[in-house]
Amino acid sequence: MSLDNLILLTGRTIDQGVALEGGKTTKENVRAAAICMFDTDDFKKLDTLVGTPVKIITDHGEVIVYSILSEEGPHPGIIFIPMGPWANQLVNPDSQSCGTPTYKGMKAKVEVVKSGKVLDALDLIKTLKEA
């Protein structure tokens, strides 16, 4: 199943803040930041279980993260990924000449993935280093 025409926002969550202070290369950081938060009604359309890995695709890249229901909804049409290496595979590097990339408001598409793994921070960055 898949969902189109979503808007991706990224930003701080307290779990992600605690996890990064505890170690950026830890499993705790994966659990805190390699997640995508869905509006409850949007998630129903995906017809899958909470926690299933999903592939998020924007014009700037794609990444596989775990799905989770948002505690900060309802926000139909909006998905949220905590700031960090996973979110940054998807954000728009263009700053419209002001220097600051556009970390919020990308058009996104979501697919439920049957196979495919959520990478940890080091493996994910390794793919960029070797690209």
């Binding site: 949220f80 700053s95 990339p101 960029l128």
Partner: protein, 440 residues
Amino acid sequence: MAVKKIKTIYDVLCPFCGTLCDDLEVDIADNKVVEVRNACQIGTKKFYSSNPNEHRYETPMIKKNGKLERASWEEAIDKAADILANAKRPLLYGFSSTECEAQSKGVELAEILGGVLDNTASVCHGPSLLAKQDVGQPGATLGEFKNRADLVIFWGSNPVHAHPRHLSRYSEFVRGYFRKDGRNDRYIVVVDPRNTHTAQIADLYIQVNPSEDYELLNAIRAVLRGVELDEKEVSGVSMEKIKELVNTMKTCSYGVIFFGMGLTQSLSHHRNIDAAICLTRELNDHTKFSIIPMRGHYNVAGANQVFTWNTGYAYSIDFSRGYARYNPGEFSSVEVLLKDQVDASLIVASDPASNFPAASVKNLFKHPLIVIDPHESPTTVYADIVLPAAIAGIEAEGTAYRMDNVPLRLRKVKDAPGECLTDKIILEKLIEKVKEKRGE
């Protein structure tokens, strides 16, 4: 078993977010943090993670045969200085999670090297600084808001998650001189596309469409001037709600807008802040109103101050022509990496590999990379040289600027483990070695 002697240190500053809480109590035994009181979850974790652990670097590391291996300080500094002195245009980035004395050494090194100097404001509140340069900023210190504000607006910021103690220290629950009943004496408004945890405890939540804050801000300005807009809604917000908000703003005795990444990192960037500041200015025709950015890193405001004293500019500075030039759209770290315009990088107390867009990160790793950092991160793991630092504010003293630009003195509560040195000493060693290699 012998009972360990516990030393308690009071009034400790928290080196995490821009709220810069200054009331922490930290218990130390055997040079280890054993208890932290008064801090939020994130601050507490930061203090505990200063204890020796598998993610902490205790000696300099140099990449040999594709793996980071332990090295002496002499070897590491020599090799790092070699890379920097031979680079045509190195990038010096980070600085927001260290103290001001180290930041000024960073400026000195960037000038000697003719490099690009930047701090983390370039990926967070850089647009706020641009807007401030455009139209000024009616602001005040956090104490004023605590004692006076009866209308508090959080626009595109979620302090419950990002500045966990801001609400209880300055803006929502705290009792102030003229706000004796704390939360009951304040009206809280949250403007955000998501019904955030901050919005869930607000009096008025305004759900704005993503990336449409600019339109909403200007609609509010129009209504404030008495213009009747021929629209049913703007940016997903009904005209009734806009009028209600304008009325609330006009009739409060002291209002404040705290704004965050929701405005700076969405499509209109600094134009959003321009509009928000102009709105604040216009509100001062009716009542007293201020606006202030919710700064992220505990000393990013300090980095802007120190860079400005030394170069005239707050961030994204290029020294490649021998004098300071400023143009964030051209010299911000993300831009110079994206266009592959630097040939080496020195990262101080930051993790750009995690926090920059993927396209910029790819180019970061194409050239030699030196990192000064206490902890393992995706940036340090793939770096060529790692110089282990004492954590400023925990293992080193120094000055830091709170989000309202009030300087406070960071405390040292314990010694750094292993061979760690302070950021300032490491940068001084690099400056000395670079000068030596250049025959100065």
